[in-house]
Amino acid sequence: MEKYIFYILSFIIIVFAMASVTSRKMLRSVIYLLFVLCGIAGLYFLIDYNFLAAIQLTVYAGGIIVLIIFSVILVHHIEMELEIAKTSKQLLVGLSCLVGLGVFLTTIYAHDFNVVQNYNTITTSDIGMKLLSYEAGGFILPFEVISILLLAAMIGAIIIAKGKKLSIKNDETV
């Protein structure tokens, strides 16, 4: 049963990723990306990482998609069609991507992974304890660094997005 769910999910992911990359309407391409992200969240649910699936749904499908939709609506006319690369370039890039995919797959299938068979679920409290522990192997320092990074990125985004208006106001006061 889980096998068929996996095949359906991977089919959804690959088909909608291709549609998102080749669609000529901007907003439709964003919505296809949303389907891909939801499929990936389903994959996380399938391998029993519920916390990560919830993060995927809230941060990616909730936050990032809404940001991209806002930027598309601010920047584009809905009906406008995208300029697309030349057919020769598309063929060349697709061919080289297929070659790269072949190299990847031969490397993966040539390597034998020693898969561990025992099976234990990871709870959210385990992840929280690991993130906040300051003993050996704990992740408290990267956690703090990433919180500073998020704050800095937020302030930077606000300043960049309203930079032009600030300079005009300064000119007026001078």
Binding site: L33, Y49, I68, I158, I160
Partner: protein
């Protein structure tokens, strides 16, 4: 661990997703589309981290924690990129790559 699915099949799916992202990154000519292709590439790498943690080292948590960090960095990057794109649109009225030559020299 999914019953009946080996690690090879999962890694095949993520490889295909990664190369779809690279194809989009090279062929699209619009800044927002390029940003979406970057999201696809990052998602493929996150699934790889999680799968390798689950199948090879099920007692460790490093893969999950690194994927949380990758998602946080991707969120920060998207916010900054969207603000830069909107600022660029205000100044030159376009988000095509070929019009973006302000920082060329």
């Amino acid at each position: 661990m999914i019953s009946g699915i080996s690690i090879y099949e999962l890694l095949t799916v993520t490889s295909i997703l990664f190369f779809i992202g690279i194809y989009g990154f090279i062929t699209r000519k619009n800044l927002i589309s390029i940003l979406m292709s970057i999201e696809l590439i990052l998602n493929a790498s996150v699934i790889n981290f999680v799968i390798i943690n689950k199948y090879l080292y099920p007692d460790m948590l490093q893969g999950v924690i690194f994927s949380i960090f990758i998602i946080a960095v991707a969120a920060a990057e998207t916010a900054l990129a969207v603000s830069i794109i909107i600022n660029l649109y205000r100044q030159i009225n376009s988000v095509e790559v070929k019009d973006t030559e302000m920082m060329k020299y």
